[in-house]
Amino acid sequence: MCRYLERCENTARLVDAGFRMSLTRSSAGQTEWNSVLETLDARHAFEARHGVPTVDKVTDFLIRDRSNPASVIEVYRLARDNARRTRTALTLELWEAINESWMALLELLKRPVTSAGVPELLSNIRRHSALVRGALFGTLLRNDIYCFCNIGQLIERADNMARILNVKYYALLPMAGSGGSPLNNVQWEMLLRSASAERAYHWTHQGEISPTSIANFLILDRQLPRSLAYCYQELTRQLDWLAGAYKDNGLPSQELATTLGQNLTGLTMTEILSAGLQPFITQFLRDNAKVASQIETDYRFYS
């Protein structure tokens, strides 16, 4: 459930980033939509059905299209269904927040998405996300259920962040910075917006901008709540808590996560770049998926 909720929020964030880029940098618009679609593994499906991306078509496809299993509405349906299945584990406030968001989403998406309606639509989705998150953090007992919610969210967040980096890794290579060409600025802006990190980056870096520092921010900076390092720092903490509560230390998932987390803490961008940025990212995606799968096994999610 929490993975799906996080995924919805991230999809909406990506669409928002793509939307802004298409407004402010119209020449790059189409390319940016393509990279959004690729990040969501939906490019082929879109092209097969709609051909060339335009604002209306892409936003409708990514938010409202029931035949697109990665659309916000379809992923939210899964989240809400899972919430229904595990009602007894949720507080009433959390269930109502999820259910009301679902009802609001259905209402908002009754008619096709148009570019004029996108800002308000996305703002509504963000607001509902905040309500759900508030209910979750505000009312859930701090027990294993709460722990699993956090774990799901963090795994998904790390995965989504890595996917974004994977599609745009070339913009983060050192040579990409030479000359500071407008094309690079577009990519960097897109990357940072996709992680809701644009302002945070400029605030911490005080005007300085380079592909390496952006990569460092998004991968290794533990102050950024969406960075890979932050996700794994928190994930390890959650798994340690769980192991303590269950009196079950040394489970494979805990060890895997701890190792990955320690790697991220110990690495520098120089080391990552010399070993190869793209291989690093693809390996991370694989390792993260392995941690997720091991957690499911260790904690008996399926029989």
């Binding site: 229904r84 009602r87 259910n99 294993d144 269950y246 079950d248 008996r300 029989s303």
Partner: protein, 475 residues
């Protein structure tokens, strides 16, 4: 409204005055603006949707979530009227449990010739796997829904005994919650017997029926077919309210003679399983092999005393139209007293005299198939054409043992809020009875189901029926 309603109205007498149980309510109603009521009605609908009290209707593979219409005029019964019903319901439930024990052991009632053997031997609801099994405390029907109808001031009939998986109690509870939220002033003025303890009582009742293999406090779980089942909300609601686990078949397995439930910390045994899955689908090793909803081998664990199933398998035999007609005999045989609650007079067409009567009075009667359900294969005499009557006569003559007949009942009405103001609609009542060893608990009231269409007798939610809050005064 009173003058052109030929039926017994529970709120208003034929003279246009409020009946005693409704006196205070009618008083309150006269001071209320009907537009405020309509607003509350819409409010209630929103609350139900937000809480997710919906059921799924499947059309074209896309699930549609529907609300069961809720009407905010309560159905009010006096404490004295209820006391009479209570005694009759308890007697009936006691008799049913005694019957089930007997029918799966020495079958004394058959030996005594009080009911014909074919009713049992040719009945697919009779489970051979239950013969000789004695559930804890001899309790077969832990939860019973005894459907009642009313035709006059003191005329109540039992329409049906629901002893398999009676549902609707979550609506009873949520309706009361909603009424209290919307009309707190009403509850300050009028003393209504509380029902909020039902989940606690249910938990205690189920706990008392725990099997001998239980260690410490009994662990209770609710077995649901899943979120696509139309009654799913109730399964989740009851589990939540009782503090019980909610499980599906694939969460459970047989281990060491117990049924264990998969958790993030390993497998833990369940002591009492409140199962909302039909007998047929309960155990693919013992019943339908294609069932994905059940637990392979649960019947074997049950028979060895490793788990209590509520309600017990095989209770369907008491839930059957043919057996229904023998209920007066059954109550008398096991309690030694005549039945306090009336059965609807029933003619069994398998008997020549009865068949003769039915054929002669076909246009006045309701004829039902013994093993039918959902209103199929039925004839409503007064509403049938000459052709339909003739065709049905042929069917009756061909297979008389397949039919029973009953008079058409003039069901009582209670007003609902319509576009044009208050208008009478037919209602029935489903009280919920909890049975545990040595004890019967009956919740005051139950679920009132109302036919929302004018003149309709169909109260089923799947065909547009709605519900009301039921008040038993006093206490």
């Amino acid at each position: 409204m009173a003058s052109d309603n030929p039926f017994f109205d529970e709120m208003t007498t034929s003279g246009g005055e409020a009946r005693t149980p409704y006196a205070d309510y009618a008083d309150w109603l006269s001071s209320v603006d009907i537009r405020a009521l309509r607003r509350k009605s819409r409010q209630a609908e929103h609350v139900f949707r937000r809480t997710g009290i919906t059921f799924n209707v499947y059309t074209d593979a896309q699930a549609d979530e529907r609300l069961i219409p809720f009407d905010l005029v309560p159905r009010i019964i006096s404490g004295a009227e209820w006391a009479g019903l209570k005694a009759g319901i308890e007697q009936r439930v006691r008799a049913i449990n005694a019957f089930l024990y007997d029918i799966y052991h020495r079958q004394e009632i058959l030996r005594a010739g009080r009911i014909p053997e074919q009713i049992i031997s040719k009945n697919s609801a009779f489970l051979a796997q239950m013969v000789g099994v004695t559930p804890p405390g001899g309790v077969y029907t832990h939860i019973v829904g005894t459907d009642l109808v009313r035709t006059g001031e003191n005329e109540f009939y039992v329409l049906e005994d629901n002893v398999r998986t009676p549902s609707g109690v979550s609506y009873m509870l949520e309706n009361r919650e909603t009424m209290m939220k919307m009309f707190p002033d009403l509850f300050e003025r009028i003393r209504v017997q509380p029902i909020a303890d039902y989940p606690k009582l249910l938990r205690k009742s189920l706990g008392r029926s725990a099997p001998p293999a239980t260690h410490g406090k009994a662990r209770v779980a609710v077995l649901t077919p899943g979120i696509h089942n139309s009654a799913y909300f109730e399964h989740a609601f009851l589990a939540e309210q009782m503090g019980a686990e909610l499980v599906e078949g694939h969460d459970l397995q047989v281990e060491g003679g117990r049924i264990t439930m998969r958790t993030t910390r390993g497998y833990v045994p369940i002591d009492v399983l409140y199962r909302r899955v039909d007998d047929d689908f309960l155990d693919p090793l013992n019943f339908r092999r294609d069932s994905l909803l059940g637990i392979p081998g649960v019947m074997d664990v049950y028979r060895a005393g490793g788990i209590t199933l509520a309600n017990a398998p095989g209770t369907g035999i008491a839930d059957d139209k043919a057996l229904y007609s023998y209920m007066p005999e059954i109550v008398e045989f096991y309690t030694g007293e005549p039945a306090r609650l009336r059965n609807v007079p029933t003619w069994r067409c398998a008997e020549p005299d009865a068949l003769g009567y039915v054929l002669e009075h076909l246009d006045e009667l309701v004829v039902k198939e013994v093993h039918g359900s959902g209103g199929y294969g039925m004839l409503i005499g007064p509403a049938a054409s000459r052709k339909e009557l003739a065709a049905f006569k042929k069917k009756l003559l061909a297979r008389p043992f397949n039919y029973i007949a009953q008079p058409t009942l003039a069901l009582s009405t209670v007003p609902v809020l319509t576009q044009a103001g208050l208008a009478p609609r037919h209602v029935d009542l489903r009280p919920f009875v909890l049975v545990s060893p040595e004890r019967i608990d009956l919740i005051p009231g139950g679920l009132t189901r109302v036919a929302m269409k004018k003149g309709s007798l169909v109260v089923n939610s799947s065909q547009g029926g709605g519900t009301k809050d039921t008040w038993i005064l006093g206490g």
